[in-house]
Symmetry: C2
């Protein structure tokens, strides 16, 4: 179809086509096509010969034209909330590595100046992504429906929808937060505080539910509640206000590590509080600087690499099989015990190089 156009103008190197390359390399046109298809089978020596011929002629393999036929762009759209929180770039990097190994590239969607990710169905369709991963960001139900209508697979990472209408991979938010409540109660804390993240996110809601439900079921009453919106600055402000107003709680569970680090910095440097003697601080993620000695944060882990490989697996299933019913994958973690919270006398075990919370009696999630 394009051959006629190309043949007429040999001055422009971009207009060289696969037939020219095949002729020069002495191979079939389909071999040329395979040589430029990620993942396609072609002998190394043949591929080398083809690439040499392509370079000699200045050939641009037309992925775009090919995708008109295969309807596969080998591009996965990934929307990611905010990259200040170290969990997110680490997840993005792991996800990109997984997808690249399968011959896909990530098309990135990040927040605009106003902090929101502008990702409507028009953009999804314009860039012809083969699938979409929403990483630490939410999705309107209308976009989910439109993607579904257009046959574009979507997997949410570290978020889920209320109605389980979209496939998702998350950490064990409810049970992780329950374990944190149990751990803090076992180590003698009585004045609890929960720092919420963004109010509309499943992660913040589920972690709050796990924490408060365990406390209620075990007779501890409702914890104090402050809001950090998953932002470093907002978390600092919330802790400042909490410390100024008093009385200061003896245990603070922050809905992610990013906010817990902010809380720790403010308590220590601005209010001279000793961690964990004056206040215990616990996070959720176990990622990035949380592990550094200066913080030594006790935190419930979200195993990034397992979560990204589950995400890739769900996505590839959806791409290869077409539509299917959405699935929710929950990846279990561990409460990693470090020095930012007082420890109970029993229940902390050494597992390889770390300490984890392993109470003898495990109460089921309610």
């Amino acid at each position: 179809m394009r051959r006629g156009q190309d043949a007429g103008d040999e001055r422009v190197s971009r207009e060289v086509n696969a037939t020219d390359v095949a002729k020069l390399a002495g191979v079939s046109q389909s071999a040329v096509s395979r040589a430029f298809t990620p993942g396609a089978s072609v002998a190394a020596a043949t591929r080398k010969r083809i690439l040499k011929a392509a370079r000699t002629l200045g050939y641009r393999p037309n992925l775009i034209a090919r995708s008109l036929i295969t309807r596969k762009s080998r591009v996965i759209g990934v929307a990611v909330g905010y990259l200040e929180n170290q969990f997110n770039p680490q997840a993005l990097q792991a996800l990109s590595r997984e997808l690249q190994a399968l011959g896909y590239q990530v098309l990135l969607f990040t927040p605009d100046q106003d902090g929101t990710v502008d990702l409507g169905i028009e953009k999804v369709l314009q860039f012809q992504v083969d699938g979409l991963v929403l990483c630490s960001t939410t999705m309107s139900s209308s976009l989910a429906r439109e993607c579904d209508n257009s046959g574009i697979p979507v997997v949410m990472f570290n978020r889920a929808t209320n109605d389980s209408s979209v496939s998702s991979v998350t950490g064990d938010n409810v049970n992780g937060a329950r374990a944190i409540a149990e751990f803090l109660a076992a180590s003698g804390h009585r004045r609890f505080c929960f720092m919420a993240g963004l109010e509309h996110t499943s992660t913040s809601r589920e972690r709050e539910h796990g924490f408060t439900s365990w406390l209620a079921q075990n007779g501890y009453g409702e914890p104090l509640r402050i809001v950090g919106n998953y932002e470093f600055e907002a978390a600092r402000d919330a802790v400042r206000l909490m410390c100024k107003q008093g009385p200061i709680p003896d245990a603070l569970f922050c809905a992610n590590d990013h906010m817990a680090l902010a809380a720790l910095e403010v308590c220590r440097s601005e209010f001279g509080l000793r961690i964990p003697d004056d206040i215990s601080i616990v996070g959720f993620d176990d990622a990035g600087p949380a592990r550094w000695p200066s913080f030594s944060l006790t935190s419930y882990s979200q195993p990034i690499e397992i979560m990204t490989s589950e995400t890739t697996r769900l996505l590839m299933d959806l791409i290869q099989r077409g539509t299917s019913s959405p699935r929710q994958v929950i990846v279990k973690g561990d409460l990693i015990v470090r020095n930012s919270a007082r420890r109970p006398e029993v229940g902390v075990e050494r597992v390889e190089t770390q300490y984890v919370w392993r109470p003898a009696v495990v109460r089921p999630a309610g």
Copy 2:
């Protein structure tokens, strides 16, 4: 050309074409095309009507087919070294925001399992990027030449080539490192150490040159030299070895903040050194946790947002004008003075909320 194919099969919603949408919306086909072109002009009401019709019919606007005509994919390939160092995700986010505002999306290339970014000309051509940004990563001279031959604009960010053959935007590596040497000498340090990053990178080489050349020109002799490869773990190992072997230097300049934080953690938590009484530590970047009270790192700044907007500007110039001679942009920073290094008695000035090194006599770069 594709209309004939589409008309034959109306069961598959993806085969609906722009003519069908134009008919239903009561507009011209070119209006439909404009409605789906990022940045193209179309009245809001018209656009809304077109999008409604497109949704009703399940129309997928064919960016791909359009890009065959316009030869513009509105996609910029961005290769980024490693996202553990907070400078890089912050740069990526800023760059993505800039490009999105201009109607472009970032196609991400990250390191594979072996730590290298697999980015050959085949991939660049396959995904038909309109341009390429290499962010904190290097580029083979052959890839640079092939991109040039194929008319694909390239801008390097936070890296440069030896021969200035590729456009680049960098911080002020040489003068920044000279300022650090002068600052440390002025505050009475005499046993200097430089921690190199990746040996083949322009950033590490230029910062080392600036540091050692100032020291040599001012009679201080050659500093001790250790290598951290820009990695947290490698930097920790290098500092451990340095501390064990002794004598411990009194001033350590690390080629970026990521390594400086690792050094600070090891000195403080493993060797009980007081910062800055026993050892002064200075970094380069002024990004991320370096600013937190627990580290309070003295560091030469690389202004991320200025650097990304310069990168975008260079790239857009190249895309719009086609090939032109490469340009090197150097963005000046400041030596931000915090508490990780002893301060000279004079030369530190308060500028807004920060302290910066502003010696009375500025020596020119050599």
